[in-house]
Symmetry: C2
Subunit: 438 residues, 2 copies
């Protein structure tokens, strides 16, 4: 969409107050659904026509699932929702005084504006890491990583130089949170069960997996026990876990760590942090740690009609003194509650303050193993793995997606096969030419 | 793969004679499988690491299937095949005197060379058509078309100009062969059953479907009855079929037909012809209609050790005075037979001449309708549609693919839904920047 002057927003005027939602992720979808036929006009913007179930993105990257399994078109979710408009358009900025939203296809006024545009990968200002590592936040990025990885293996059977063969088959995963741990486990599985069948000429001992984290343990947001178990499971997959270590630089060929180690690796996966996906026009004093400050009703303080929900918002309450965690559960709950509060407001009822209902967290490590922290207890192993599968299956939006994911998992489990190891996107060295943040 | 000098082919020397197969399509796969552990060293080249089931490519383009349904990785097909080497590398030329194959990663000698690199889209020298229309021969092309089409609908609800809205929602399909007929039917189904749910703001009367063919009837390679039935079925889907008509030019905005009609359309699908996918170095006098001449043993005349099978070969025999048709059945049968003849040759047995076993042809037109020409009789309608589904399901390589395709079809049929209408590849206006013939 390069020339957009021929487009216009053209949202019909409505006697109802207009709520604009920026972003069709977990938070935005819940909010819009909760507002169905509730005497508001609802306009949703997203740069994609689909929502992504991010917790399973790593399985797309590691050839376990196709994109249609973990993504769904947005429009069908709002079928027959009256006075609802979806527009696939990038929001470029907001003007909180004029109460307008600026997009690539024009401006539009709002009565209420809800920022629900989630988070983006945080490179902490390191341009090399930004240019040369693979993030894992969006479907095109996951497909890029998949093609890159498989293409490297095709090259590895043709490469002359031993050092280069090493680099082609090595992987460095940066960040020991759920994404980093899960992608490392999936790579371990590929190494152990899938790739050796495809490349009998290759000695898979040379494929080295490294997981690097700056902190003293894995899964910092989960219980200490879960972190320890994850470490144990990963080591069984021959993943070399380096804690208290930073990746200081990466030139596309080798990664330099803070302990002096230099790892030849053509693939560095960056899962070391996210930050709010902010738009232009949010007053500076309301931004904290890259997120927008909100009160317990998800209202942005001091700004009339402005709200933020999900990852992009930071809410500090008695219950959450360090701010709410950037996880799907918070986004879902805030989206749902804000819809209710918009309705309460119309009926002049009292607003309900947000209170986080932590349902627990889970991370899976390859075949058969997972760790789980539920509110009352935590556990690991095979049972946690079943719980993980069950929770993720019921969390995916759409019965079709559930069916597809389930059949793929059963297939992959029974056959040790990955159906989707096709190199469809051409490997492009220059990351700028790749689909970054599109 | 831009810098390839660091790569080498590195195929081990073998006491066995070396057969090089260029292309892992229907013909090449059958040949390589037939040579399993048969006292030949087999080396296969393909620019992709997967084979494509082309008859269903149009369903990927029209959001009915994901790529993993109709494509499968090549390597697993040759698991445990001894002295077999697959290399993902583009073949740039051959030297039939020196008996070498040139690839982007180096040269390699052969004892026998089998060209099995299929066909490519034929634009008959028209650069505008080549630059601006959508071909439908490969998976990236199908994905490009899908994203383009869906992106146009997203734009159509925002466009100011009525003429442009028309162009965004109009489709011109060029070529009334099976691909052209099937893609037109699939577009008709999208118009009737799928898209109106997504875009309630749009009046789908403006979405016009045109199928243009230079000849006097549809499905020229099938029976006259089938051509007539296909026409009737397409007209029920509001497809405007123009016979005896050429697309003379297309500037990306409007298509100009030979009868003077000008159709505003942002999407022109080019399914009007294919030609052999020739490599450099084939003696000119052996090329006929863009294909390589072969005798009834698929040997290229006058050239020692050179063979061609499938679409890239043209074989004129008493049975096939105009040359063998460029269809999957011929490719499969020639690949299989050539493997047998290679074995016969080793055993000093007489070679078996090719004789085409025409099992009939089929084309489907949207939901519930198909036409079938079997050797003894032809029929259409719902039963033909079931036969079409059955034949295609059993023809897809791999049990997993069959399962995925089948579940998708059942789902799409029961729900009138298409699960995969995600815009994942960004719409790029300049086709050269798109994945053309990659």
């Amino acid at each position: 969409m390069e020339h957009l002057s021929h487009l216009q927003l053209d949202i019909p005027d409505s006697p109802l107050p207009r709520i604009i939602i920026v972003g069709g992720g977990f938070a935005g979808i819940q909010l819009a659904k909760g507002l169905k036929n509730k005497k508001y006009q609802v306009v949703m913007f997203d740069r994609n026509n689909y929502h992504t179930f991010q917790p399973l993105l790593y399985q797309v990257a590691t050839a376990g699932l196709e994109p249609d399994s973990i993504a769904g078109a947005l429009r069908p979710l709002f079928k027959k929702q009256s006075d609802f408009y979806f527009r696939m358009a990038r929001v470029t900025g907001i003007d909180v005084k004029e109460k307008t939203v600026k997009t690539l296809v024009g401006e539009i006024d709002y009565d209420y504006l809800v920022l629900a545009n989630g988070s983006k990968t945080n490179y902490f200002g390191n341009q090399n890491l930004m240019d040369k590592t693979f993030p894992l936040k969006q479907i095109p990025q996951a497909l890029d990583l998949r093609s890159h990885m498989l293409q490297n293996f095709e090259q590895s059977v043709m490469v002359k130089d031993e050092y280069e063969k090493d680099a082609l088959t090595n992987f460095v995963v940066v960040g020991g949170g759920p994404t980093g741990v899960e992608v490392s486990g999936a790579l371990g599985e590929l190494k152990k069960h899938v790739l050796p069948n495809d490349y009998p000429e290759l000695d898979f001992e040379i494929m080295k997996l490294h997981l690097v984290d700056a902190g003293p343990r894995l899964l910092a947001a989960m219980s200490e026990k879960s972190g320890e178990k994850a470490l144990k499971y990963l080591e069984k997959f021959d993943v070399d876990v380096k804690l208290n270590t930073l990746v200081q630089d990466y030139d596309g060929q080798k990664a330099t760590l803070s302990d002096g180690t230099v790892i030849p690796a053509r693939t560095v996966i960056w899962a070391a942090g996210v930050t709010g996906n902010l738009v232009e026009g949010i007053p500076e004093n309301l931004i904290e740690k890259g997120r927008v400050r909100v009160d317990e009703f998800n209202r942005v303080p001091e700004v009339d009609g402005l709200y933020a929900i999900g990852d992009v918002a930071i809410m500090k309450t008695e219950q959450l003194p360090n701010g709410d965690p950037m996880v799907a559960q918070v986004a879902l709950q805030q989206g749902k509650l804000l819809a209710k509060n918009f309705v309460n407001q119309l009926k002049s009822k009292a607003l309900v303050a947000f209170s986080y209902n932590d349902k627990g967290s889970l991370a899976t490590i390859g075949r058969n193993k997972a760790v789980a922290d539920l509110p009352k207890f935590h556990f690991g192993g095979l049972f946690a793995w079943f719980v993980w599968m069950f929770i993720h299956l019921i969390s995916i939006i759409g019965f079709r997606n559930r069916l597809v994911v389930f059949s793929n998992w059963v297939w992959n489990y029974l056959t040790y096969d990955r159906g989707t190891r096709l190199i469809i996107r051409t490997f492009v060295k220059d990351k700028k030419a790749r689909t970054k943040q599109t």
